[in-house]
Symmetry: C2
Subunit: 384 residues, 2 copies
């Protein structure tokens, strides 16, 4: 009887182990299969490998793409068909401190790139104790960058950690840049004499637009477009309305989606749906206040949003006007269904993969590309 019992126990344990094993196999096998989601059926393809923190991807007119890596500070040209990567030379000196989240951020091209070769890059400068963000316009030729022009450098230089911002979009001759509060300086997000915790707007040649909202305010930095922002790591132009949309990391809870309008105060750190790490109220401990904007949507618990793309391609008709965001904290690809300025629904893709999705970029053929830490670039292609 004793022997029977122990055999039975061993069989039970064996079954548990087999069960765990089957579970794991299913997770890995799924990446090669057709995946049916709420509004699209697709295959996942691996486009390229060998990145550390792939931060940003921008397609060039010839179908290749530029990819920035925040951690290594490398800018590379990716052949989409072969996965081959060529290092771009001629980058300026970048503050590379991965421990505090500094390095090379967004890369964007000018719409007339085919004629002028203009590439915009955003990177950290200075030291860990006194850092800033730079927007630089350079000219790309034969995989080398030349003719550098520094369009913007944030001030004051501050001790920064994680909350650098560093997202850039081009819209109708303007550049919009997100800047974070540097983690240590929430109060700067409400301070118009500092660039931190803002969205900034400049012309594509670095000039300051004369209709920027605080241009006539004594002491205010003229590049400021909006303020009261914490750690904005996603920025996109809505393909239909041409409004600028952003997301930001809240503290513990309260990650936000906002439409970024001139002169608006998005509330950080006065109001937030989040709380201090470990619990406790922030600011006035309230979620609403007259004169401060409510978010369009918020994630609680925090997903840790990174990157943003509002889909407009033809490959996935069911995703038209869906907003895609990476999730660093809850490790998935987040889809919000938009109807005008409203979020109708949220879908979470790839919750079983463990991917820290860092950026999302719609390709010229409408395929959805995204980079994951550690680090591959993948794409979603309609299933045949």
């Amino acid at each position: 009887m004793r022997k029977l019992n122990s055999s039975f126990s061993m069989i039970a344990v064996l079954f548990v182990l087999i069960f765990i094993q089957i579970g794991q196999q299913e997770v890995f096998a799924a990446s090669d299969k057709k995946i049916k989601s709420e509004a699209a059926v697709f295959n996942i393809e691996t486009v390229a490998k060998g990145f550390e923190v792939p931060w940003s991807m921008e397609f060039l007119p010839d179908g290749s793409a530029l990819v920035s890596d925040r951690k290594t500070g490398h800018l590379q040209r990716l052949n989409i068909e072969t996965g081959e990567l060529i290092k771009i030379s001629g980058l300026p000196k970048i503050l590379l401190k991965s421990k505090i989240g500094a390095g090379l951020f967004d890369v964007r091209i000018h719409p007339d790139f085919a004629d002028n070769g203009w590439v915009y890059i955003v990177y950290a400068t200075g030291s860990a104790e006194a850092s800033g963000l730079v927007v630089e316009r350079m000219t790309l030729k034969d995989n080398g960058l030349t003719q550098s022009q520094r369009l913007l450098e944030t001030k004051p230089r501050v001790k920064g950690k994680y909350h650098f911002g560093g997202r850039l979009v081009y819209l109708n001759g303007y550049l919009f840049l997100t800047t974070g509060d540097g983690y240590f300086h929430p109060h700067l997000a409400q301070d118009l004499t500092a660039h931190q915790g803002k969205v900034l707007r400049i012309h594509d040649n670095g000039d300051i637009p004369i209709d920027n909202p605080f241009i006539e305010v004594e002491g205010a930095l003229p590049e400021i477009w909006s303020f009261g922002i914490r750690s904005p790591q996603g920025l996109a132009v809505h393909p239909e309305t041409e409004q600028v949309w952003a997301n930001e990391h809240g503290p513990q809870g309260g990650d936000e989606v906002n439409i970024i309008s001139a002169g608006q105060n998005y509330g950080w750190p006065v109001i937030t749906y989040g709380e201090e790490y470990g619990g406790g109220a922030i600011g006035e401990g309230i979620t609403r206040k007259e004169g401060l904007e409510q978010p369009l949507y918020y994630w609680l618990p925090s997903i840790g949003p990174s990157g943003m793309e509002i889909y407009s391609g033809r490959a996935f008709p069911g995703w038209k006007n869906s907003m895609f965001t990476g999730s660093l904290a809850l490790k998935h690809l987040n889809r919000l269904v938009l109807d005008g300025e409203r979020v109708l629904h949220e879908e979470r893709l790839f919750e079983d993969k463990g991917w820290r999705v860092r950026f999302i970029e719609e390709g010229p053929e409408g395929f959805l590309y995204f980079g994951v830490d550690g680090g591959k670039i993948l794409r979603l292609v309609p299933a045949k």
Copy 2:
């Protein structure tokens, strides 16, 4: 060695069993403790027991409440402090067929109840093969109903199943009633000569408002306020805007929240975010169409929404303008954070309880009451 192995196996199995046991104990113990949710800390209290399908609850000026039970067809007066229930006599003949979801639905009182004693009840009539909905106004005195006046009876009578609707609200002298498509008759939701799949509006004395949107349309039923609705089991007046909000069950997926406006077509069964049970397109297989309203928000997978209350009390400041809905399918209490006509966030409470929440009602002291199938009435009270 063999003996050691088998002992180890037995210990491993024991640990697994202990672990499962601990997990279960935590779940049950939680119901008696202070619960910290995203925007409120509360205790759960049991107010009354002994219901089958508690469908609706309405507070009377003296602090007691009327409670309807769809399955038994009973209307009872509940002493909130003692949990004592007194049966109300004098109800009309009700079609009680729980298998198809027929029975007694909402109970509401007139705002001048203290003077006129008017109570409105909604119930199924006819037979399982040919049923309709009735709105009846009665006078309550000494726990008996008298002086019945039938204000509305839906037509045509049809074979019905589950999708009866039966939610009623009073607003500024008008009554709004939801009617479902009867499950078998999706096309009737687009048919203005039938009452099914609609929101209807009448005066509180049964008269038809002369400004109803289809009153001059040849053949259209004059009570129709809006149409294109599937199975609407939640209805509430927004306490600030005085708009009428409703929710409805989609088919497989695509449960909706809508603001109900005059003459609008909410799309069923032409457009939906859901699909046929088991898969496959419904209607035109699309989610948007010119002239058809988009929902304000949708749940996919379906939660099976039942009941609705938009909170306006003082007991829970963090819940101001939150919309509460019961979930029959995913068994929880659903909270949507509203900002104007926008849903900012969704929270799911009590996902571990297995409660099919059927209705939610804000009490005069701002406590949140809700009924669960099978069947208790519970309330949430701010934690001391």
